[in-house]
Amino acid sequence: MDLYEHQARELFEEHGILVPRAEVTTSAKGAREIARRLGGRVVVKAQVKTGGRGKAGGVKLAADPAAAELTARQILGMDIKGHTVHSVMLAQPVDIETEFYVSYVLDRAAGTFLAIASAEGGMDIEEVAATRPDAVARIPVDPAEGVTGAKAAEIAEAAGLPAQTADVLVRLWGVLTREDAVLVEVNPLVRTAQGQILALDGKVTLDDNARFRRERWGASEAAHEGPLEAEAASKGLNYVKLDGEVGIIGNGAGLVMSTLDVVAGCGARPANFLDIGGGASAQTMADGLNVILSDPAVRSVFVNVFGGITACDAVADGIVKALDTVRLTKPLVVRLDGNNAARGRAILDERAHPLVQQATTMDGAAQHAADLAVSH
């Protein structure tokens, strides 16, 4: 899960990294109040989980509280790369002398974390890395040893950062490990005219798998992007909303991803990704079907199950259960194979719902579901 800038800032502050004074609000009036508290002149920054806010007009300087209110009014509600701005952060402006870039990222191939640092901060680091790779230092960190003072000094030196940044590098490693993050990035990290090292903007991605030992972000983690996501998450379903018309349910992330592709190859667009997981019960299946059927964009549904741990008869029971609780108005194409497939098919045959059709192959079922969605 990505954090908002203001949440990342809060974490940095707790770990002893200097940050500008700032507060967050969801209203223009609130922006005026905050600007007053912060001394009048402020930077107003859209809080969205995507980059490129500055270019999109989501970051602006306001000279006084009245200007802050006006600016906040302009920014709130803006759409930045498909993300609606629901809140703004107002921060005290800083006298920047030099800008740097530092981050810790997961190196999947090496199975460890990598420090990435550059004396050229404040810009698109991927661009810098592509055009002038020498300007970016990439140093692996031994997970058992972590970033000690000596390691931090090594990273700073390799990147051409001033020695004073070493302390921030150690503290940032603390954010990564103690908060169970998979990415921490400070861009820019700045040296002010007064000689302080300050994290001006930051990005933190927390590990969803570590949720069980992390309570503080519970509320914001529950704040999903849409009502269907929230509904699915509350039922323990793995759901991603997409913008097509064929609803897709399957078991196992790989098979569901594959199902989306096969449907797309048949000339329709998938409306969602929904994985009922391994060993799903009839209830899970019914919950999943309910989530998908409540999406008005869905015109047909493809249930694609290869029973391994999951038993096809449980899936069929779930479909029948859902048919008893919702009025089905959209056609359902079902393909069951693997564990207890014959029993599952028989259950659906017995129920004989006019809108439920069975198919024997994945490709054939996908074509059928796609045709139904396009013609429906």
């Binding site: 460890t112 490990t177 992330a253 594959s258 693997g338």
Partner: protein, 294 residues
């Protein structure tokens, strides 16, 4: 022959006395796996009856290995305890640890993989279905009865796509099918399995299943170009996945322009690997290729 797992393999199950551990130990035994013990410090000294076989429970992996000569451990313990379980297995010097557990924090995985490498323990997973050498042994949760022994090797990031391909190619059969898992940091990789299949005289062709996220498939392609002489047929899932969304597996995410299915497919095709558009077409490409070899 087979890779990593044969009928001689002696298997311990960490977490055997839990609900999942029990269910899958029964299935493994039914598939012919020589399950020689479970591990649970609180139940050491007891036994668990599985139909016609009583399986002893040991207090630690080390104790189980001493008593039985076990050389494989299958880990079913919950995410919060998985790190300790793998560290214990590696410290005991087990040659192979198969980590089925899904949802292990990445910092824990990074820590236990680093330790296992130092100890010389091969880890498969986490968040994987394990591996099966049909007719010989099954370590994990792959259904054993959908295929048979044969001449194809299979390595896959996805459990259900593994089953799908095993089923589609059931008439040819497999030497070993390895589910390496869909997490960002895993132990055994596509490359490790390609190397092992290349060296296995009974494997005639390798099926490689990948998905969005990371660059493991691109690296596998480079390895195939330089080291693999046997035919490889591939399937990649996730062409329609949008950027920035995790598609079920913790590792399955397109970040910016990296990790796309298209890039992976192109990298594989550039080294002569045929890539199927659907699982069924992939199976057909395998059959065509085996036919052509005759």
């Amino acid at each position: 022959m087979a890779i990593y797992l044969t009928k001689e393999s002696k298997v311990l199950v960490q977490g055997m006395t839990g609900a999942e551990g029990m269910k899958h130990t029964r299935r493994m035994l039914a598939a012919g796996t020589d399950v020689v013990g479970g591990v649970n410090p609180r139940k050491a000294g007891s036994t668990v009856d599985f139909d016609d076989r009583a399986v002893p429970v040991f207090g630690s992996v080390a104790e189980g290995m001493r008593a039985t000569g076990a050389d494989v451990s299958v880990v079913f313990v919950p995410p919060a305890f998985a790190k300790a379980a793998v560290l214990e297995a590696a410290d005991a010097g087990i040659p192979l640890a198969v980590v089925i557990t899904e949802g292990i924090p990445v910092h824990d995985a990074v820590a236990f993989h680093a330790h296992a490498r130092r100890q010389g323990t091969r880890v498969i997973g986490p968040n994987c279905p394990g591996l099966i050498s049909p007719g010989q042994s099954n370590a994990g949760i792959i259904p054993a009865d959908i295929t048979k022994p044969g001449r194809i090797g299979l390595v896959s990031k996805s459990g259900t796509l593994t089953y799908q391909l095993m089923y589609e190619l059931r008439d040819i059969g497999f030497t070993t099918c390895v589910g390496i898992g869909g997490d960002p940091v895993i132990g055994t990789t596509h490359i490790d399995c390609l190397e092992a299949f290349e060296n296995d005289p009974e494997t005639e062709l390798v099926v490689l299943i990948g998905e969005i996220g990371g660059d493991a498939e691109e690296r596998a392609a480079a390895y195939i170009r330089d080291h693999v002489t046997k035919p490889v047929v591939a399937y990649i899932a996730g062409f329609t996945a949008p950027e920035g969304k995790t598609m079920g597996h913790a590792g399955a995410i397109v970040s910016g322009s990296s990790g796309t299915a298209r890039a992976k497919k192109e990298a594989l095709e550039a080294v002569g690997v045929r890539v199927g558009a659907t699982p069924t077409e992939t199976a057909r490409l395998v059959l065509d290729r085996l036919e052509a070899e005759r």
